[in-house]
């Protein structure tokens, strides 16, 4: 049973990280129907910024929680700024273009950002300081959850709640939902669509930055390529849950995390990704628009 619990919590942790990234995908998709391939890179930039800032602060003699908060804040600011800029340059001029053009632009952006970070920083793996505080009482409880895992879970949960509140109750959230439903109609009733889209990118990037800082301190190393793999997984999670649906992204991410964890634990990690993708295929065949996606009636 202990083994099961350990795998369960491992999957939960993994899933909640996927969720933080998947939310960015799903929000952007919901609002402009674009698979934003550069989103994984935003997460990577978040992690890099946190690493750089925390090292500079550590050099300046700071330590403890203040480093964590300052580094995380910088990561959020810079990720959001990158997300905003990427949208303005890469996608905004393509609002009226054929559907696949922004997708190719996104792939180009992703290649560009990866190489930009590689050239400006390094192609090596860099150790990432464990910024998260240690909570020794958790490991004493022997329930198979370590302190980083616990912090990741809590942070993810808090972010989800805040995001839900933001989308449900603020004016900007309302504008987002309106734009997602029908961009032209939203424009007609006075929603500033461009601004709403920018906000969507900023919020998505913020979540990615949080994910970046958490995962980097969890696994203790980063390089310029981490965004790509995490991005593909998060995108899978978003589709699994029903792309465009926010609770769907979270559910999809958790299901994906658990699938991988249990597949590794009970079968073999050789085929962990095979199981993840097979699950995706099977779920989509049974429910063609994902777990929580609405199956929209086709407009004729």
């Amino acid at each position: 049973m202990d083994y099961f619990l350990e795998l369960f919590f491992g999957g939960l942790t993994r899933g909640s990280i996927y969720a933080l990234i998947a939310l960015g995908y799903t929000m952007v998709y919901g609002i402009i129907e674009l698979i934003n391939f550069a989103h994984g890179e935003i997460y990577m930039i978040g992690a890099f910024t946190a690493l750089i800032v925390s090292s500079v602060l550590a050099f300046a003699g700071l330590s403890g929680l203040s480093v964590l908060f300052l580094a995380a804040a910088a990561a959020i600011v810079y990720s959001a700024a990158h997300g905003f800029t990427v949208e303005k340059i890469g996608y905004k001029p393509l609002r009226q273009a054929p559907r696949l053009s922004p997708l190719i632009s996104a792939i180009g952006m992703s290649i560009f950002l990866q190489n930009y970070v590689m050239l400006a920083q390094t192609s090596d793996f860099l150790p990432f300081p464990s910024l998260l505080p240690d909570l020794p009482f958790l490991s004493d409880l022997e329930i198979g959850i370590g302190s980083t895992e616990a912090i990741i879970l809590m942070t993810t949960a808090v972010s989800m709640v805040l995001l839900t509140l933001l989308i449900k109750f603020t004016k900007m959230g309302k504008a987002m939902r309106a734009t997602a439903q029908d961009r032209n109609m939203a424009m007609l009733v006075g929603v500033d669509v461009n601004r709403t889209i920018s906000y969507t990118f900023i919020i998505g990037s913020t979540l990615a930055a949080i994910g970046g800082v958490l995962i980097a301190s969890h696994i203790g190393r980063i390089n310029f390529y981490i965004g790509f793999i995490a991005g593909i997984k998060a995108f899978t999670a978003a589709v699994l849950g029903g792309i465009g649906s926010i609770p769907g992204a979270v559910l999809g991410a958790l299901v994906l995390g658990w699938t991988e964890s249990f597949a590794t634990g009970y079968v073999s990690s050789d085929y962990e990704d095979v199981f993840a993708f097979l699950l995706l295929v099977i779920i989509l065949i049974v429910r063609p628009s994902g777990l929580l996606g609405r199956s929209t009636a086709q407009k004729v």
Partner: protein
Amino acid sequence: MIVKSSARVFVSWVIGVGLIFVITGFAAAADTIKLGVAGAHSGDLASYGLPTKRAAELVVKEFNAKGGVLGKKVEILAEDDVCKPEVATNTATRLVSGGAHVVLGHICSGATKTALGIYKDAGIIAMSSSATNPELTQSGKYPNFFRTIASDDAQARLDAGFAMDVLKVKKIAVLHDKGDYGKGLAEYARSFIEASNKAKVVLFEGITPGAVDYSAVVNKIKQSGAEAVIYGGYHPEASSIVIQMRKKRMNTYFISDDGVKDDTFIKVAGKAAEGVYASGPKDTTKNPLAIAAIAAHKKAYNADPGAFFLNGYAAAQALLTAIQKAKSTKYADVAKALRTEPVDTPLGRIKFDKNGDAIGVGFSMYQVKNGVYVETSTAASDPAAPKKKR
């Protein structure tokens, strides 16, 4: 409007490409000894390719300062293959077309295999600093191939033997990163353990490189009751696994390969790295040539050299010295010089056997003690011994 702009896009592309073509075409016209350097210089494996490129640059600078080779300046033709076989064919033909006399590369075994056919047809010798696939030298299919690193099976034998004979463990988990290098090594290790009957492989698994965490695999190791883990792969994943193992308070032995015998591993894994075993090339850092090479790198790049730097340095030296001693750049002459004339390199005094493996380049076992890798005296290996058995 469309007519003009699309025509213009195309025309300007053609002109741009033409210009670059002309510039690069003219640049390669001078009479020099051309040392091709091929490997991953960009992309996710760049960190394994760039140190060799830098080593080549430093060696060439040194040779040119002494007046070059055969009275000519040495010139580097560096080409990127991103460690992909299909790109490696382009890289190789480009080096052949560019008139490379010898090639230092490639970095990854797969790309090396693809490129070697092309070099063979063109009569060019290639020497790798890091392609460890045993087939490259032992199959006899690649007579033009040399390397300054020992092959995977020698290393796997050392790792497995160390676990069974020195640590005396009975249950071993063998992990790998699903890569060419890691999986090959892990499979050799498994077959050695199974053949010896001294221990049992309780777990044989591939992990996904770059995955967000490895807690499931670590749990599985714990569950399997393994007393030692043999890991085939590179340091980034190894450090994650070790950190998570120690976080779960497991004190299983962790034995790995020269992909992990890298100071970065210790820095990344921190305290968790203590006690980790890793096999690596025999310690040559006390070799004055190695000290000088590392110092030169520090001076030029203000950083410690990366993976395979000394191997790359030795390979570049061996190639250029062989040309010098053979007084020719012809295939047969250079090959003969490589096989007969020993050369002093940071790896020691080396020459090459008939398969192309460097004689005198072997592995020993290291352990992390107080944040540095220390050679363990119990397990000095003779790389020639296992090969005779084959």
